[in-house]
Each structure stands twice: as structure tokens, then as C-alpha cells.
Symmetry: C2
Subunit: 231 residues, 2 copies
């Protein structure tokens, strides 16, 4: 990640059409990120081409290097955005259910899963980018073999996992999940929703009608919850 240049160049803000003859753009970093996000949404991580983003903004390709260390750094910014959007969808799915008790918690787990898979289906390009290897973020290994600990807000990457953890804890409290089955439960849950999302995006599920997709999702979520709650 770069030192940073996000502090909104005081003079020209996002208000007055930037890049209209002005030599300095005023908000290039964010403009590039927005352009890259559009590319990702349309074509997935492979469509996030640094030169294309620069072209979209109307700026030379190398200008991007004043705001990003590398292509991978730009892709990482898009990845962060994707993770954030995913979290929003999960939160929206979980918030639909209020109240407490086993059934409410069960419904909240379902909501989280629906939100997750729903995002993957509505924004396949962003979803794929959110879990793209090539982007900075997550963990990496330097050429010397040392483990580097990400760049970009590590918050978003962890946040979705955290939501799941909280809900599973709640499920134990409420008696839905036997305490002895709690450790590692998020792995099963995460694997299931991630795997299902992938089956929709790349696998045989991409041809399903909206109705069929709904059944499949409910079925899969019921299965994983049944697996977790069975003593």
C-alpha cells in the first residue's frame, strides 16, 4: 500500500467536473477506483486493467502510479470495495430478522447465508474480485519468504467472518448448536456458502431460474444448519 493520497485535494473537490481541461484531476485516486470497480463488476478481476481504468478516467496510464504502487494495489482497492459490499449484503440479510430465541437465531443464520449468496449472484464480478488471489490484501509471501500481513483495510476481510462468528455464538447461547460442536463451525458454514456461490457463478447452477435458485439456496442453507445443530 502507498503512503496515502486520499486526503481530498482541498481545492477541487468532487463537485466540479474533474479532468475537464484541468491538468490536475483533484480526486484521481478515487476516480480510478470507481472506474476499476466498474470494470470488475462487468468482467471480474481479469477485466481490471490498469490502462483501461486510466483511459476511462481520461488520464495517462502512468498517472495511476502516483496513487497506486502497482496494478495489484489498484485491484486490492477494488477487492476491499467488494468485501465491503458483501458485508453490507450479509448485514441486510441478518437484519431482516429481529427478536431472539432459537427460531430467530436460525432465521438470522439463514438471512446471513441468503445475503452472502445473493450478493455473489447479483454482483458476480465484484464477488469474484473480492476473493481474487492476485490482489493485495489477505496474506502474502515476499520473495525472501517472509510472511507479509496484507495491505488495505484488513477490517473488511475479517468483518464478514466476524458476523458469522457472532451469529454462531448466539446459536450456542440460545441452545441451537450444542456447545461441543461450536469450535470450527464457522468453517463449515463459510465453506458451504462460498461453495454454493461458486456453483452458481462457475458451476452447473448458472442456468437456474430465479425460482429454482431460490429452492436450491434454501435447501443448501437448511442442510448446513441441520449439520451444525445435530447433536
Amino acid at each position: 500500500m502507498q503512503a496515502n493520497a486520499n486526503t481530498e485535494a482541498t481545492g477541487a473537490a468532487a463537485g466540479g467536473r474533474p479532468g475537464k481541461g484541468r491538468y490536475h484531476h483533484g480526486d484521481l485516486r478515487n476516480a480510478l477506483i470507481r472506474a476499476a470497480i466498474e470494470l470488475a463488476a462487468e468482467g471480474g478481476p481479469d477485466a481490471v486493467v490498469l490502462r483501461a481504468a486510466a483511459r476511462k478516467v481520461g488520464v495517462s496510464a502512468t498517472a495511476a502510479y502516483r496513487h497506486f504502487d502497482s496494478h495489484s494495489d489498484l485491484l486490492g482497492a477494488v477487492k476491499d470495495h467488494g468485501q465491503q459490499r458483501l458485508v453490507e449484503c450479509m448485514e441486510a440479510g441478518g437484519r431482516e430478522v429481529r427478536g431472539s430465541g432459537p427460531e430467530a437465531t436460525r432465521q438470522r443464520m439463514l438471512g446471513l447465508g441468503r445475503g452472502y449468496i445473493g450478493f455473489a449472484r447479483q454482483e458476480p464480478g465484484l464477488y469474484r474480485t473480492a476473493f481474487c488471489r492476485k490482489a493485495l490484501g489477505g496474506f502474502g509471501v515476499t520473495e525472501e519468504g517472509a510472511v507479509t500481513e496484507a495491505g488495505h483495510q484488513p477490517g473488511w476481510e475479517a468483518r464478514s467472518f466476524e458476523m458469522l462468528t457472532e451469529t454462531l455464538d448466539e446459536a450456542v447461547t440460545v441452545g441451537l448448536i450444542p456447545p461441543e460442536r461450536r469450535p470450527g463451525a464457522e468453517l463449515s458454514a463459510w465453506a458451504m456458502v462460498h461453495g454454493t456461490a461458486m456453483l452458481f457463478l462457475d458451476g452447473p447452477l448458472d442456468v437456474l431460474s430465479e425460482e429454482e435458485a431460490g429452492y436450491v439456496i434454501e435447501r443448501v442453507l437448511r442442510d448446513v444448519i441441520a449439520g451444525l445443530t445435530t447433536p
Copy 2:
């Protein structure tokens, strides 16, 4: 896919060091595939660079176009190989358990899952390539919007799914899975193992010790089977 040029040039077979001064290689298609497989094994689908494969074989880059329609076609051949290797691992995992009855079937399901996840962990590059979008194979959509139906042996891609299907059918016969829960069960199972594999390759599970990984895998597989067998 190309018309085909796989019919082992009668004269020079794989025996005598090919490409040793000979203008014609004799088995270039397979040599390129082997080189590409090595690249994929080491660096995943992104490492499958047509020019690099040609370099490895000691041939000009454009020579590859006598045997493959495009980079994507070569990648597709590697993908097929990965799928085949995956099937072999699943078969090996399933064959470990003989006999019949509910417990044997349950063990066979576990074996299939262990084989699947084991392959993903032992050959991450090939596994990723086996499920790579960019490669030909699977389904695709032409520029005019028509749905094309794959190239490359569609057999391997379907075969692993088929194995799962057979085992689940067996589980119903044997009374493990309630018949009414059978439809769609392969989706849950597939999603779970695929998702788990991804958590190992890209996710937070990549740092686990061999022992810890074993526990996680058993845990996840038990969860999904519990979900499927719960009435």
C-alpha cells in the same frame, strides 16, 4: 477445440529425445500440454503462459497454434488433466472402503470428500486450473449470445459429479439419507467440499498444520453428512 493432431506421428514416437535438432518435433501437442501442466502445477492457471510452455519445449511460440486454437484451448487441455487427476483422487478415496451397509456408505462418502480436498491441498495449482473460468470447457457463451456446449472431453468434468451422485444414491438405498432429502443433495455436498478446498487454498486455512487440517476436514465432512442424513 481443433480438428485434432493427436494421432502420434507414426515415425518419431515419444522414445527418442524429441526436439533434438529435429525440425519436426513428433509429439509437440503432448509435449506442450506436459509443459503447461508443469506451469499450472507450480503457479496455477495464471502461470500457464503459452510462450513459456513453448520455450520449455524449445519451440517457437507460434508453433503452438498448429495444435491449439488459442491460449484458452491449451489451458483447457490442462484443465482436463486436472479434472482427471481429481477424479483419480476421489476414486482412490472411495475405494479405500469396501463392503456395504450404512456405515460402509458413510465411510465411502467421507473417502470421496477426503480425496477431493486432499487433491486440492496436494496440487493447488492443478486444482485451481481444473476450475478455471478462462479455459475452454464447461459451458460458454458466444458473442452472439448462443450457448456453446464445451470443447474438450466433457467426460471428466462430469465424472466427478457422477461419482458423488452414485454414492448419494447408494446412501438412499441403504437408508442413510431419507429419500425426500435426496434431490439436490449433491449440491450441498459439492458446495461443501469445494468451499472447504477454497478455504485451504485462499482462505484462512492455509496456515494449518497437517494434524489441524485433518481435524478440520473430518469436522466439515461430518457436518455435511449430518446435514444430509438428518430427517
